[in-house]
């Protein structure tokens, strides 16, 4: 709906633009772009936690209560080696849940609007919609947008680097 409205208000040139079908698909799928942008933001909260599966075998002293141990013994009697699937299941059971999962579980949306909560403490969107754009390659202010992926670059040189190294690499 919103898209339709804004398109009606916007003055469009009458010239028919010829765009290659693949390009049109890439342009149209704002989904991919926003997904990539979200993934980048999400990555800012990452720790390099290493590969969990490797150390799971090592830390036997931590967090194994009795029925866990019984469970593991039973398992080791029955089959000689744990299958990968069993290992994965076990890890998933033991893995701590992320904060976002806990947040979802707490169901804060159901609180009445006057109660301050984690969700209502978020600062909210900025008052001005303008944002500065910085070149994704060199960091200076970027005038141009990549037509394929929507990232920014400032010059021909940076465009080439961008195309060679980064463009659409994260979606593939």
């Amino acid at each position: 709906m919103d898209d339709d409205n804004s398109n009606a208000l916007r003055r469009m040139s009458t010239r028919t633009r010829k765009v290659a079908p693949k390009m049109a698909a890439a342009l149209g799928s704002s989904d991919n772009r926003s997904q990539a942008a979200l993934a980048r933001l999400e990555a800012l909260e990452n720790d390099n936690a290493g590969i969990e599966a490797v150390e799971m075998n090592d830390d036997d002293e931590a967090s194994l209560d009795e029925d866990d141990q019984a469970y593991m013994q039973k398992r080791s009697k029955g089959t000689k080696r744990k299958t990968r699937q069993a290992k994965a299941l076990e890890n998933a059971r033991k893995a701590p849940r992320s904060f976002l999962e806990l947040l979802h579980e707490a169901n804060l949306e159901s609180l009445p609007p006057h109660v301050p909560s984690y969700l209502r403490a978020a600062v909210g969107p900025p008052s001005s919609t303008s944002r500065r754009h910085f070149c994704s390659v060199c960091g200076f202010s970027a005038k141009y947008t990549c037509v394929t992926c929507g990232m920014r670059f400032c010059s021909c040189r940076c465009q080439n680097i961008h195309n060679d190294t980064r463009c659409m690499k994260f979606v593939a």
Partner: protein, 428 residues
């Protein structure tokens, strides 16, 4: 009666010590790490120099909240037994908890404290009120201690909170949060450096060091960007960080610390003067410089990254986050409070948290904030001497106050009433 352990359990650093003392006895990272040489996750040691290259890290805290009690138990038992040498069963605990903790997290924290460690009693405090307490005791004649009211800007490891405090209580309806903190900034710097020069995606400790030593807050981004574009000596911001080679030095260092600081001395106007002759020379130098870049050398240059990284706190929108910057966040927090409080809040802004240690943070905030605040109000920003430890010091003060014991929840009360009932005592 018994001694009080004050524990500021941050996402990045644990600050712990006995209540009543001036400084925390132990400050350790709140994580376990596994260096390449080890198969097990280790406790961070304060004494021995370890090679932390490409160490994997596990943190019990995600986005500021305790999500992995098992891991936290591990770290705390190491802390209490080997570092602090206290026995939990004969002491009380003053614990800081982030604002708006979820009920499920509070429950698991209580279980951890009373059932696993068996503390005598517990007091849960939030950091803004502790900062306010410390500041008002440090300067008893200032406005903020006379009005009993301040605005605490806590820019920490996991997120940034702006919290109005009135009469030692945080006004939780006025609290605003930006989901950006030191961890996100380090990760952002990591991403930039990895893309532009050397892959450092695994070097969290190293990049923390780079961020702390080299990043600063720009007062005028446009001008600074132009300076950063210059070549040769005119470029005040270019500096080189040498990576550890694992043989002669285990830690990275800034190649020329003097040069790294020169941007703080130079006046922006002098640096902006165009110099045509120099420019011609530079074009020659430029081509040579390009050849000179050698990826096999274990060092990298930083230029505009130095100020564009902390810039994100002031304008998260540039990163693509749909969140307002710090100055606007402050205005919203103040506007959520009673109009009578507003002039006082603007005059008693306290900056705390490790991410406010970037040079010129306060100046920039003042510059951003002034146009947004009504003319008749004064804006006064107070910085702290040691923004990382001052929450703990507030806690230490609180723990040594005479009626502290009576405000705690005891173990017996917890066993009788459960977690949720006992939590009501702390008003949050």
């Amino acid at each position: 009666m018994s001694n009080v352990v004050v524990l500021d359990n941050g996402g990045g650093l644990i600050k712990a010590g006995q209540g009543g003392e001036r400084d925390p006895a132990v400050v350790i990272p709140n994580c376990l790490y596994r260096p390449l040489t080890s198969k097990k996750f280790l406790h961070p040691s304060t004494t021995t120099e370890e090679d932390l290259t490409s160490a994997a890290i596990r943190r019990p805290i995600d986005r500021g909240y305790l999500i992995n009690p098992d891991l936290q138990r591990d770290i705390w038992s190491h802390l209490f037994n080997s570092l602090l040498h206290v026995s939990p069963s004969s002491s009380s605990l003053l614990l800081t908890e982030p604002l708006f903790s979820l009920p499920s997290i509070q429950r698991s924290t209580d279980e951890l404290i009373f059932e696993d460690f068996g503390f005598n009693s517990l007091f849960v405090a939030d950091s803004p009120s502790l900062v306010h307490l410390y500041e008002s005791s440090r300067r008893p004649d200032s406005l903020l201690s006379e009005a009993q009211c301040s605005l605490v800007v806590d820019c920490g490891f996991s997120f940034t909170h702006v919290a109005p405090v009135f009469q030692n209580c945080t006004l939780n309806y006025g609290v605003k949060r930006i989901d950006l903190g030191g961890k996100a900034l380090t990760n952002y710097l990591k991403e930039l450096v990895s893309y532009r020069s050397i892959n450092v995606m695994d070097e969290t400790f190293l990049m923390d060091d780079v961020k702390e030593k080299l990043c600063f807050v720009s007062l005028d981004v446009e001008t600074d960007l132009q300076i950063a574009r210059k070549q040769g000596k005119d470029n005040l911001f270019r500096c080189t960080y040498v990576l550890p080679d694992g043989v002669t030095h285990k830690k990275g260092y800034v190649e020329d610390p003097e040069a790294a600081q020169r941007h703080l001395r130079a006046s922006p106007s002098a640096a902006m003067e165009p110099n045509k002759e120099a420019y011609q020379l530079e074009t020659i130098a430029k081509t040579e410089e390009r050849k000179r870049v050698d990826l096999t050398k274990n060092e990298f240059d930083l230029m505009n990254e130095r100020f564009l990284v902390p810039e994100m706190i002031f304008q998260p929108a540039d990163l693509g986050m749909n969140e307002a910057g710090l100055a606007e966040c402050i205005v919203r927090a103040v506007n959520a409070c009673h109009p009578y409080l507003r002039p006082v809040l603007y005059q008693s802004i306290i900056l705390t948290g490790g991410s406010t240690l970037f040079p010129r943070f306060a100046e920039r905030l003042q510059k951003d904030l002034r146009p947004l605040v009504p003319n008749e109000y004064q804006v006064k920003i107070t910085t702290q001497n040691d923004p990382i430890l001052d929450v703990w010091r507030g806690g230490s003060l609180l723990a040594s106050s005479p009626n502290f014991e009576s405000t705690c929840v005891t173990k017996a009360e917890y066993e009788e009433h459960g977690s949720a009932r006992c939590r009501r005592r702390f008003f949050h």
